[in-house]
């Protein structure tokens, strides 16, 4: 689960991590007043669930409140397209107005999960403000990585090693040690899958400040934090993805016209792959869960049909233990409820598969049966071509 920069900074500051003075605004008028409060000189930052905002014109330095207001009017409601958003971009609904500071040095700092070691790791670099993947490619020697032992936790001397490696010394080095320890504390207590402070700066006056911050929460741990669901900005998500989430279905909107419903993530990915192989373009990824139930199948079917791009539906259920006749009933009920006229191909495997096929063929729907994965994909592509 992602949150906005201003929310990440709020959380970090509760852990004693210094952030620039700021105000979050929902209207151009609020932006103007916030800019006045900062003394006119300030940074106006669009809040979206994606990075790369600076290069896309989502972050602007302004010099007086009226200018801040003008920038805000331009940004509010605009779909900001960055290299992380995809071509459709993300709508700007909130703006962060932040004081400017004189920067002496910039660093990169993050804590995330390292899959290889199954541990959290801290990554730091003296190349702040840059894309860390770029730094990793161009100058890997400038990246410092520390794998954190879950039993001992992150120790002070380890944090100091990192701060020293960044070239810090004296009081600001000790400030950085504390900041690193607090970031790790925040990561654990708030169940973060990523905390990224980029850049972390030292100001001319010798203060550390988290100039930009990103936090992602571990989706599996959201249940432990009652406040998290309210922190979500639903305007940043696809409406169908939100509906799917309510039914515990993994749905991702794609650009094609064949709606897909599959049980299991791996098989769902493979189904998209095979559709493309036969010249089809999937409209979505949708995993109804390995043990697909009749209810989930019915909800999933309705979600797929809410997408107006969908011109045909491919259902691929390797039921195994689930009975295919039950799955078939779920499909038929949902299709009848929403009056689905579109061509449908159903490929099912599992117990009672013949009963399931019979039910579908006698349902009056525009449906064909796929004998296997390849046959099903070929049939739906052919039906779509004729339609």
């Amino acid at each position: 689960m992602n949150i906005h920069e201003y929310q990440a900074k709020e959380i970090l500051s509760t852990y004693g991590i210094p952030v620039p003075r700021n105000r979050v605004a929902l209207t151009a008028d609020q932006v103007e007043r916030a800019a006045k409060m900062m003394g006119g000189h300030c940074v106006v930052k669009a809040q979206i669930y994606a990075g790369g905002r600076g290069k896309a014109g989502g972050v602007k330095l302004v010099h007086h409140p009226e200018q801040a207001s003008d920038v805000a009017k331009e940004l509010f409601g605009k779909r900001l397209v960055t290299k992380q958003t995809g071509p459709e971009g993300l709508k700007v609904r909130r703006i962060l107005v932040e004081e400017t500071v004189e920067i002496a040095r910039e660093f990169y700092l993050s804590i995330t999960l390292d899959r290889e070691t199954s541990r959290y790791c801290l990554i730091a670099s003296a190349e702040g403000g840059m894309d860390i993947e770029e730094v990793a490619q161009k100058s890997p020697d400038k990246i410092h990585v520390l794998t954190i032992d879950p039993f001992t936790g992150l120790r002070t001397y380890q944090a100091r090693k990192i701060a020293l490696a960044l070239g810090l010394s004296g009081a600001v080095c000790e400030d950085c040690v504390e900041l690193i320890l607090n970031t790790y504390k925040c990561c654990l207590e708030r169940d973060c899958s990523l905390i990224e402070i980029n850049p972390l700066v030292v100001t001319r006056a010798g203060w550390l400040l988290a100039m930009d911050a990103k936090i992602s929460f571990d989706d599996n741990a959201v249940y432990r934090h009652r406040e998290y669901p309210d922190m979500m900005d639903y305007s940043q998500l696809d409406p169908l993805e939100i509906t799917a989430g309510k039914y515990d279905l993994a749905y991702i909107k794609l650009t094609g016209n064949i709606g897909c419903m599959v049980n299991g993530a791996g098989l769902a990915m493979a189904t998209l792959d095979v559709l493309k192989e036969f010249g089809g373009e999937p409209a979505n990824f949708l995993d109804v869960g390995g043990g697909a139930t009749r209810e989930k199948v019915a909800e999933a079917f309705k979600i797929i049909l809410q997408d107006s791009d969908v011109k045909a539906v491919f259902v691929n259920i390797f039921g195994g233990i689930m009975r295919c006749d039950v799955i078939a009933q779920g499909i038929i009920e949902a299709a009848n409820e929403v009056h689905c006229p579109l061509p449908i191909v159903v490929r099912m495997d599992g117990s009672n598969v013949e009963d399931g096929k019979k039910l579908l063929l006698e349902s009056g729907l525009n449906v064909q049966i796929g004998d296997n994965l390849g046959d099903g994909a070929q049939k739906i592509v052919a039906m779509l071509a004729k339609a």
């Binding site: 992380q84 995809g86 999960l113 899959r115 290889e116 199954s118 541990r119 959290y120 860390i132 993947e133 032992d149 879950p150 039993f151 654990l188 169940d191 899958s193 571990d218 989706d219 599996n220 741990a221 249940y223 432990r224 993994a250 991702i252 794609l254 599959v262 049980n263 299991g264 993530a265 791996g266 098989l267 769902a268 990915m269 493979a270 189904t271 998209l272 792959d273 095979v274 493309k276 192989e277 999937p282 990824f285 995993d287 390995g290 043990g291 390797f318 039921g319 195994g320 233990i321 495997d349 599992g350 117990s351 296997n372 994965l373 390849g374 994909a377």
Partner: protein, 290 residues
């Protein structure tokens, strides 16, 4: 022969009184697996389907001699269940549960790694040695005894692969679903090592997906060490970057974890890669002929 489990395996089920725990206990038993005990804290002393239920894993082990655990405990208590089975000194814990918080798994995995207990999963379909023992949620009927070892991060895609193998007459020695989470117990290499040593396994089919670098790691290990032919399929060639494709671990981030890179690395390391999920069985047959 087989790896990890066989007809003599004595299994206990953690979370046996839950809905899916009970359902799959029945399914596994119908397949012929020896389920000797159940564990549900607070329900010790009862019998369910004739299986004695205990409050703790240690008790279940003491009274029944179980050496393997199958875990269906819901996410908030699942890491605890793994830790308990490690402390009880089991040989193997197979965690089916999906949705365990990462922070819990970091601890559970670290403790487990120092114990004598092997961990498969979490978020996995389990293990099956066809004709002998089913320890998980996979449909038994698609499997057939034979000499192909199968290892996979996926559930239903593994069923698809197994069915294709069975359809062309290639039976399986053991199929291991290692799980779709970022933190898992046994990884590809751990399972490949066992298949390499198992006289009952002639070749291996490996199923991977986007995200992380486990397939690449495995590819390099195969090149250096594997004495048996390996074929593979990687799901997600058409997946968009930055989107989590169902599994917590299936995401392309920062240009890493792409299917094309995994496929190329596997091919460079001598693995026969099926480019389509419709030809997984054929790829295995081709690798056997090499």
């Amino acid at each position: 022969m087989s790896i990890l489990i066989n007809k003599d395996s004595k299994i206990l089920v953690q979370g046996i009184t839950g809905k899916s725990g009970l359902f799959h206990t029945q399914q596994c038993r119908a397949y012929g697996s020896q389920i000797v005990a159940g564990v549900t804290p607070g329900k010790g002393g009862i019998h369910i389907e004739g299986i004695p239920v205990f409050n703790t894993v240690a008790e279940a082990v003491q009274y029944t001699g179980a050496t393997i655990s199958m875990i269906f405990v819901p996410p908030p208590g699942a890491a605890d269940a793994i830790l308990e089975s490690c402390e009880a000194g089991l040989e193997l814990a197979v965690c089916i549960t999906e949705g365990i918080p990462v922070r819990d798994m970091v601890i559970a995995r670290a403790v487990q790694a120092q114990s004598k207990t092997l961990l498969v999963g979490p978020n996995c379909p389990g293990i099956i040695t066809p004709g002998q023992c089913k320890l998980g949620i996979m449909p038994g009927y698609i499997h057939t005894p034979g000499k192909i070892g199968v290892v996979s991060r996926s559930g239903t895609l593994t069923y698809e692969a197994v069915k294709q193998l069975t359809d062309i007459g290639l039976g399986q020695s053991t199929c291991v679903g290692i799980g779709g989470d970022p933190i898992i117990g046994m990884k590809y290499i751990d399972v490949l090592k066992m298949f390499n040593e198992d006289p009952g396994t002639e070749a291996v089919f490996m199923i991977g997906e986007i995200g992380g670098g486990a397939e690449e790691e495995a590819a390099h290990w195969i090149k250096e060490n594997m004495k048996k032919p390996v074929a593979a399929f990687i799901a997600g060639s058409t997946a968009p970057p930055g989107k989590r494709m169902g599994h917590a671990g299936a995401i392309i981030t920062g240009g890493k974890g792409k299917a094309e890179d995994k496929i190329r690395t596997l091919q460079e390391c001598g693995v026969t890669v099926s480019t389509s999920p419709t030809r997984m069985g054929e790829a295995m047959a081709a690798a056997l002929k090499k």
